[in-house]
């Protein structure tokens, strides 16, 4: 099946292209908030991680958390983006119960990070997605409407937590690309340790901008923004729904209103939240409580020194150095923990076998048990030992699978299993010869058949010898000796 990246919405007369841009809100990995020392730990009791600054008490002032700035710069470097040595924090003014200050501190005209790019590996090749900007901003608190029929509860634990808003250019063209883009972004940030990318905990959410245009059209259509979508699956569903809705409007000769929409995950549809006319006037202006953020060259170069090898570079190295296929390398580098595991395993063992065992047996077990590789029941050290036992001929690949099954339960040492169960491969030619002689003796008629041309029977003899060896016979040696005997 020829896989292709092309995605169009087709109607009787026309074919439409979908244009997508994402504004990803990524929670900065940091112990404390963007402008206060409160903890950012997920899942605490409501309103237990709130300072007077976060709750906007009178006279409280924001003080920038240097670590969050560093994290943003790191991410900027990971996105191969321009680091702006001077950026400005602005106030975005609006009233809401979970916005204690009555404004969000964000960056408007002068973000900390400028243009960059992300490379996607699609089935039909690589695609570059432009990054427009990345800026730092505070998260709001959380309004909880479903505890009480008439009252709203407010939890300010999240109020003031640092977010990076990463704005892509309108370069995405399909739900598949959105999937690949989010995964790549998450992969880069997890390599850098700047965002854990945990979508269930809300560490990564996105506003999705969707427009459609007839195939071949150079101008963009009117876009709609779908707010705050918190899983890749929902993003894809929302895009497909929204693009079709817009196409239907065009087909009916109607126009599309630029508006903000919400995705209803239960009904699988988007609906209007507010029109352009009702858009908030946020009255942005530079926050007078904060001076412009100025970053020195030294600070940037210091951060550059801390940047680890990123997925693109790692992939290239895996291909060049280990002779992996692009496909294999992609699988191994996409998640930082997988790549770490892989590199630990191959420190002392064969690369090819390690690749096959990790992407084969190990992934199957992880999938089945719904575990992350960081929670793997088999440690990299023990997997490495297992591979070495195969490589040096102590056990066969087949026995190794049996041993692996046992290793899963409590990360057992494969050598111990081999010793305890006597699973060591029989590679002594003399011992094997004895077994072979026995099989030949017990099957004289079959030997005759074989010699008279029924060569298919060779497999039968191998099976019999294996049986005699209780599965431990070295298959290569058995083959060789058996052939010599039968043909001799």
């Amino acid at each position: 099946m020829a896989e292709t990246n092309q995605f169009f919405i087709e109607r009787e007369q026309n074919k439409y292209e979908v244009v997508i841009g994402l504004e990803v809100h990524a929670q900065v990995t940091s112990a404390s908030k963007l402008f206060s020392s409160s903890s950012t730990k997920f899942g605490a009791e409501p309103n237990t991680q709130v300072s007077f600054v976060d709750a906007a008490f009178p006279g409280m002032l924001p003080v920038i958390n240097e670590f969050c700035v560093k994290q943003a710069i790191k991410t900027g470097i990971g996105l191969k983006a321009k680091i702006n040595k001077k950026s400005i924090f602005d106030r975005k003014n609006y009233f809401y119960a979970d916005l204690p200050q009555g404004y969000q501190i964000s960056q408007y005209k002068y973000p900390i990070i400028g243009e960059g790019k992300v490379i996607l590996d699609m089935a039909d090749g690589q695609k570059e997605i432009g990054i427009e900007r990345l800026h730092l901003e505070q998260d709001a608190g959380k309004s909880i409407h479903d505890i009480d029929p008439t009252n709203t509860f407010v939890d300010l634990n999240r109020s003031g937590v640092a977010l990076m808003e990463i704005v892509s250019k309108p370069d995405l063209r399909s739900p598949d690309e959105v999937n690949a883009y989010i995964k790549k972004l998450r992969s880069i940030m997890r390599y850098l340790g700047t965002c854990d990318g945990n979508m269930q905990e809300g560490s990564l959410r996105a506003d999705v901008n969707v427009s459609v245009r007839r195939q071949g059209d150079d101008n963009f259509g009117t876009r709609c923004e779908i707010k705050n979508v918190n899983s890749i699956k929902f993003m894809q569903m929302a895009i497909i729904y929204e693009a079709n809705r817009q196409v239907d409007l065009i087909e009916e000769g109607k126009s599309i209103d630029q508006e903000t929409r919400l995705f209803d995950t239960k009904k699988n549809e988007t609906r209007s939240m507010r029109s352009k006319e009702d858009a908030h006037d946020y009255r942005y202006f530079p926050d007078p409580d904060l001076l412009p953020l100025e970053i020195s060259d030294e600070f940037i170069s210091q951060i550059k020194d801390e940047i680890p090898e990123l997925p693109d570079e790692k992939k290239k190295r895996f291909i060049d150095k280990f002779n992996l296929s692009s496909y294999e390398a992609n699988i191994l580098v996409s998640d930082i923990d997988t790549s770490k595991y892989f590199e630990e395993v191959i420190k002392n063992s064969d690369v090819k076998l390690a690749t096959n065992w990790i992407t084969g047996e190990l992934f199957a077990v992880l999938n089945e048990k719904n575990l992350e590789i960081s929670e793997s029941p088999v440690s990299s050290n023990n997997l490495s030992k297992l591979i070495n036992l195969i490589k040096d001929g102590t056990i066969s690949g087949k026995i190794a699978k049996t041993i692996f099954e046992e290793m899963i339960d409590g990360d057992k040492d494969p050598q111990t299993i081999v010793d305890q169960k006597g699973l060591k491969q029989e590679s002594d030619p003399k011992a094997l010869e004895e077994l072979i002689n026995k099989v030949i003796k017990n099957n004289t008629s079959k030997v005759e058949e074989y010699k008279s041309g029924k060569e298919k029977l060779f497999g039968f003899f191998v099976g019999q010898v294996m049986k005699e060896s209780k599965g431990k016979g070295n298959p290569q040696l058995i083959n060789k000796i058996l052939k010599d005997k039968l043909n001799g």
Binding site: F52, P58, M60, L61, N93, F95, Q101, G102, F285, P288
Partner: protein
């Protein structure tokens, strides 16, 4: 000692150190006088019983090495004080008790001072007469039914009436210097970034600055020394070499060059203000300093610039008073209704006016024409000062275009009220230090002040100039205790 409350801060400290007076005696005297002066309406919240306890504790184990040993001090009700109600003169905070202390007041308590109470002020420091306070207007002790200036009007009145030996105010467009001028007292606004804004209820963040108010220059120098400190809790706090303002104070200003800005001769300025200024110039010459005519051409745009920048910041700073978390709430049908009722009832007219102006000038479509342009003009005003400071060490101007006016006289005319700040506002826009000292009286016998504006971070020079002028002027406030 019969007249403890008439003593200056430095005299009180001397008496405490000499053990001629105890903190308890001093504290008691100020409390007694304050109790008898309720008619002035200077206190919003008193802290008298706690102050007496603190004085007793101090006397039991006096630490004379402190800079303000056992000295009771009342402060403007814009400084958050841990456990003591802080209202900012507003209904919207009338039940607010901060669980934290402002850095500036903490510095005072750390040096042995004792909180006497919280002093009335214009609501959120927005006003020039203390008439916008939710807690009622304040009487100026120099004469019945006169305003004490504003916004630090409770502070200036309490100081002039000897209800507190010194006090601290905040100054966004003149709120320390103008009331000082109206009450015959000394008021200093430090360079922006000298005193921490942490824990001060914000009005206009890029302009607000706390500062000392006192009977004389020496007291101001000492109090400044206590409160001017770098604070990492305020991102706009600045690290610079701070002088030992009181011990480095000198009346030798020989050879200094003092600029007289042409543009401060505003149209319609009363002759007595002009005469006062001339008198000041003569005194400066007498002190051996040189007078230099200078030009600050952008001055005429200062007031309109200020009335864009300050309301813009205020409209955003005051958004947090929404009835959700603390302070006054008026229940409503839903969130929006609650907001509207809370803010309609919680804020007074002047505050609402400024929120509206501020919201307007920041609105999309108007931002460039108003706020952005005002910020550019502000840069030009700053540049004006930078230019003249190549040639002069300080600048002498009147503090205000008039003496204290009658209560109610200007309440219906906001623009005429705003004109009060015409000489003080440029100093805030440029972030400079300025001090007002009493320099004479007008034909009604009301005090008038002169303002000395300094280079950034050069508080010492303006204190020295003020100190040497003070000696020659020898101003005595004529206060009759008419309210008792």
């Amino acid at each position: 000692m019969s007249d403890i409350t008439k003593l200056s801060l430095n005299e009180l400290i001397q008496n405490i150190r000499n053990k001629k007076l105890s903190s308890t005696e001093i504290t008691n005297s100020f409390i007694e006088r304050s109790e008898k002066s309720k008619k002035l309406n200077t206190y919003v919240t008193d802290n008298f019983s706690s102050a007496l306890e603190a004085a007793k504790i101090f006397d039991e184990k006096p630490n004379m090495d402190l800079k303000l040993p056992g000295i009771p001090i009342a402060v403007k009700d814009l400084f958050c004080t841990n456990g003591v109600r802080t209202t900012a003169g507003s209904n919207i905070l009338n039940n607010f008790i901060p669980p934290y202390e402002s850095t500036v007041t903490q510095s005072m308590w750390d040096e042995g001072a004792i909180l006497l109470g919280k002093l009335n002020c214009d609501e959120f420091a927005m006003g020039s007469s203390n008439e916008t306070s939710f807690f009622g207007n304040v009487q100026n002790p120099i004469g019945e039914n006169l305003v004490p200036g504003g916004s630090s009007g409770g502070s200036s009145a309490a100081l002039a009436a000897n209800l507190t030996p010194v006090t601290i105010g905040t100054d966004t467009g003149g709120s320390i210097r103008q009331p000082a001028s109206f009450t015959g007292t000394v008021g200093l606004k430090p360079t922006y970034g000298s005193c921490s804004r942490y824990g001060i209820v914000a009005f206009a963040s890029s302009l607000d600055q706390a500062g000392p108010m006192s009977q004389n220059v020496k007291d101001a120098a000492l109090l400044l020394e206590v409160i001017s400190k770098f604070d990492n809790k305020d991102s706009t706090s600045i690290v610079f070499k701070r002088n030992k303002y009181s011990s480095e104070l000198t009346n030798n200003i020989k050879g200094l060059k003092i600029g007289i800005p042409n543009e401060y001769r505003v149209e319609g300025m009363p002759k007595e203000i002009e005469d006062l200024w001339k008198k000041g110039i003569e005194i400066i010459k007498d002190c051996g300093a040189e007078i230099v005519d200078i030009s600050l051409p952008t001055t005429k745009y200062a007031l309109p610039t200020y009335y864009i920048v300050a309301p813009a910041e205020a409209s955003s700073n005051l958004a947090r008073y929404d009835g959700v978390k603390y302070g006054f709430r008026s229940e409503g049908e839903n969130l929006i209704d609650m907001y509207e009722k809370t803010r309609s009832e919680g804020f007074g007219e002047e505050v609402k006016r400024r929120i509206l102006i501020g919201t307007y000038v920041l609105s999309s479509g108007y931002y460039d024409a108003y706020y952005l342009k005002a910020q550019k003009v502000r840069q030009l005003i700053k540049k004006d000062f930078d230019n003249v400071y190549n040639n002069v060490d300080a600048i002498l101007t009147p503090s205000t275009p008039s003496s204290a006016f009658k209560i109610g006289e200007k309440t219906d005319d906001p623009v005429s009220m705003y004109l009060n700040d015409i000489f003080t506002v440029p100093v805030n826009l440029a972030g400079l230090p300025g001090i007002s000292i009493p320099a004479g009286i007008d034909n009604k016998g009301f005090p008038l002040g002169l303002q000395i504006i300094g280079k950034p971070f050069d508080e010492q020079t303006i204190l020295n100039i003020a100190y040497s002028m003070e000696e020659k002027i020898n101003f005595k406030n004529n206060i009759t205790d008419w309210w008792m």
